[in-house]
């Protein structure tokens, strides 16, 4: 096996705390005399990363999780505070908007400069310049100053330079988001070709769609540390589930409010697992939702259970009164009920189970408790559920060339 293209060990970055002008002077003195400075705010800690040629890694995480800092450390724009990072190859980086373009100069001048920064000059540059301008496809704007460009045009130009350079490692930071639909497609297509030809990619994106489409590995950064790394589907699903829980926590009514309700949910377990952590399921696994309800005046409640996808799209909902049954009393106004889904046909992704107690008539909803679960797997099927299907009038695929 060849040496990794990117190897980071114990990588960390901390920024100096400078509030007053005197702090800067002191920092300067310490750096010159001792080669280190004082108080620091840590933004990235203990990151171990290994990327081999031909791999593609998606970096995901909340704002401020350290994604951009990590990219800057890899590209050498920043110097690590702790640990080390080594890259064995040419890097092409698109960090933020307009990677180093000077607003006063024309697009053409900036392309020449950007190419020079990547070591491309002379005849080689003259040969590739038309190709770059063609890829950017911004018409006569190429001879206008970059300050008159729209953000999309800046990204087009930046991407065109990188595309012409074909670096060993391509690093992009959330740049696809500003391009228009056709340019995004062009970039994604280019990146796919680049990866097929053995290129290596590190992509930062908030679009799980792009990450899943382009990357085979993913790394989730949280608060400056690696929360989870591995297969892209597992990581992105866990990340989405985390976001689900975060927004659910904001909406959930407090315990005091719920205690005063006529009917309230006291516990929900999925496949026998309590607590807030999302439950991981294999595709086509079965799911058992068990709910405990307290009835204030001892009347028998109805119970509704629903499944929604991480983005809130309803998948299925059913209640006890629809099926003509009622929860079992366990004494002292407490009721319990269990719902079994066998061979869950949900496609991989994050989902939420919602449990609502209703009045005995099945009309008013009193409480809502949500529990997340994740269906694992990496399928390219689309939608929410796998519909039972069968193809007819088909021929087997000829063996790949």
């Amino acid at each position: 096996m060849s040496a990794p293209l990117v190897l980071a060990r114990g990588l960390g970055k901390a920024y100096p705390k400078v509030h007053r002008s005197g702090d800067r002077l002191r920092a300067l003195g310490r750096l010159l005399l001792r080669g280190e400075d004082g108080d620091r705010v840590s933004v990235l800690q203990d990151v171990d990363l290994e990327i081999r040629r031909g791999e593609s890694l998606g970096l995901i995480g909340d704002n401020g999780a350290g994604k951009s800092t990590l990219l800057k450390l890899i590209t050498g724009v920043l110097t690590p505070t702790t640990g080390s990072v080594a890259v064995n190859g040419e890097i092409g980086a698109l960090l933020e908007l307009g990677a180093g373009f000077h607003p006063e100069y024309t697009g053409r001048d900036n392309v020449v400069m950007a190419a020079a920064l990547h070591g491309l000059a002379g005849d080689e540059l003259r040969r590739r310049l038309p190709q770059i301008i063609d890829f950017a496809d911004i018409g006569q704007y190429i001879d206008e100053p970059v300050k008159h460009y729209s953000s999309g045009m800046v990204v087009r130009l930046g991407f065109a330079v990188i595309a012409a350079l074909k670096p060993d490692l391509l690093v992009t930071d959330e740049v696809l988001a500003v391009g228009d639909e056709s340019f995004q497609k062009k970039c994604v297509k280019w990146m796919k070709d680049y990866l097929d030809q053995g290129g290596t990619l590190i992509l930062v994106s908030h679009s799980m769609y792009h990450v899943q489409k382009l990357c085979r590995q993913a790394c989730w950064l949280r608060g400056g540390r690696i929360e989870m790394a591995g297969d892209v589907f597992a990581v992105t699903q866990a990340y989405l589930a985390y976001h689900e829980r975060k927004s659910a926590a904001l909406e959930a009514p407090s315990a005091d409010v719920r205690a005063g309700l006529e009917f309230s949910v006291t516990a929900v377990s999925l496949n026998g697992i309590d607590g807030d952590a999302p439950v991981l399921l294999e595709p086509s696994a079965s799911l058992c939702v068990r709910a405990h309800i307290r009835s204030r005046d001892g009347r028998v409640p109805c119970l509704a259970i629903g499944v929604v996808r991480a983005d809130g799209t309803p998948v299925y909902g059913v209640s006890t009164d629809m099926d003509g049954i009622e929860p079992q009393g366990t004494g002292d106004g407490a009721y319990a009920c269990e719902l079994q889904f066998a061979d869950l046909p949900l496609l991989p992704g994050g989902y939420t189970v919602r449990v609502h107690p209703l009045d005995p008539e099945g009309v008013r909803v009193f409480d809502t408790v949500e529990r997340g679960f994740v269906v694992r797997g990496s399928t390219r099927e689309m939608g929410l559920v796998r519909l039972a299907h069968r193809w007819t009038c088909t021929a087997p695929v000829k063996s790949a060339p």
Binding site: R24, L28, L31, T75, E96, A99, D109
Partner: protein
């Protein structure tokens, strides 16, 4: 340091200085002429400045031959002090050897003023001043250690400026002091005896006198002093590189 990249930044910087001025590149030639006219008027006709000695050259050639190298030197340091700070946007997004930015800035000042210097020497000769045109080649060679000295100081200033933003104001105040502390506007012989030795503490003194000696045959020139000046230039250059490389990894944190 990658030469191609330095050349690119040099070209950009050169264009930067002349772009926007309506006369463009012509200004580089016009400025020496204008300055020559102003100085001749002020010093010869108003101050009636004269140099001591029977065979002394005219005051204007004396002033011009040292003032031009000084302008290159001073402008190089002042402008490159902010070279890193002004390119903060670039430094934050692209990995590049940052010395290149300082080098390009220093080189631009020297290039512009070297052209102006040669032009003014030729103009003075045409106007009938006693200029030794044979001294032009050694005079141009004097720019080499002067460049090294300026580059070394510029590396220090540019790196420190990132941390202490008032440095550029301080440098702007110190440079005129350095100029008046060197025999640019006056001859060493005009100073009281006990002050004359102090001039040698000024790194530019050697250059001012060497330019006078080369082009006007005025004053002495010794190779020992050239060797000392070159040694100092190399030391300052090495010190500048050390300071710059030491602070370089932390620029991003403070920009």
């Amino acid at each position: 340091m990658p030469a191609a990249l330095t050349l690119r930044f040099f070209q950009r910087e050169l264009r930067n200085r002349f772009a926007g001025s309506f006369s463009g590149g012509l200004w580089a030639l016009f400025q020496p002429l204008l300055q020559l006219a102003v100085y001749s008027f002020v010093f010869v006709h108003i101050f009636k400045a004269r140099l001591p000695g029977m065979d002394a050259p005219g005051y204007v050639p004396f002033l011009m031959t040292a003032l031009w190298p000084w302008t290159a030197f001073a402008e190089a340091i002042l402008r490159s002090t902010t070279a890193i700070q002004e390119n903060a946007a670039l430094i934050g997004k692209v990995a590049l050897p940052r010395e290149v930015l300082v080098l390009a800035s220093v080189a631009t000042s020297f290039a512009i003023h070297l052209v102006g210097f040669i032009a003014i020497v030729l103009i003075l000769a045409l106007l009938g001043s006693r200029i030794h045109l044979a001294g032009l080649a050694p005079a141009v060679l004097l720019y080499v250690p002067l460049f090294a000295l300026a580059f070394g100081l510029a590396l220090i200033c540019a790196a420190v400026q990132v941390f202490v933003r008032d440095l550029v104001q301080i440098v702007a105040q110190l440079l005129p002091l350095l100029m008046f502390g060197a025999p640019v506007f006056y001859d060493r012989g005009l100073l009281p005896e006990r002050f004359q030795g102090w001039l040698d503490l000024n790194p530019f003194t050697f250059y001012a006198e060497a330019f006078h000696a080369a082009l006007l045959g005025y004053g002495d020139f010794s190779f020992t002093r050239l060797a000392v000046a070159a040694g100092i230039a190399i030391l300052i250059l090495l010190a500048g590189r050390w300071v710059f490389r030491r602070l370089d990894p932390h620029f991003e944190d403070f920009l």
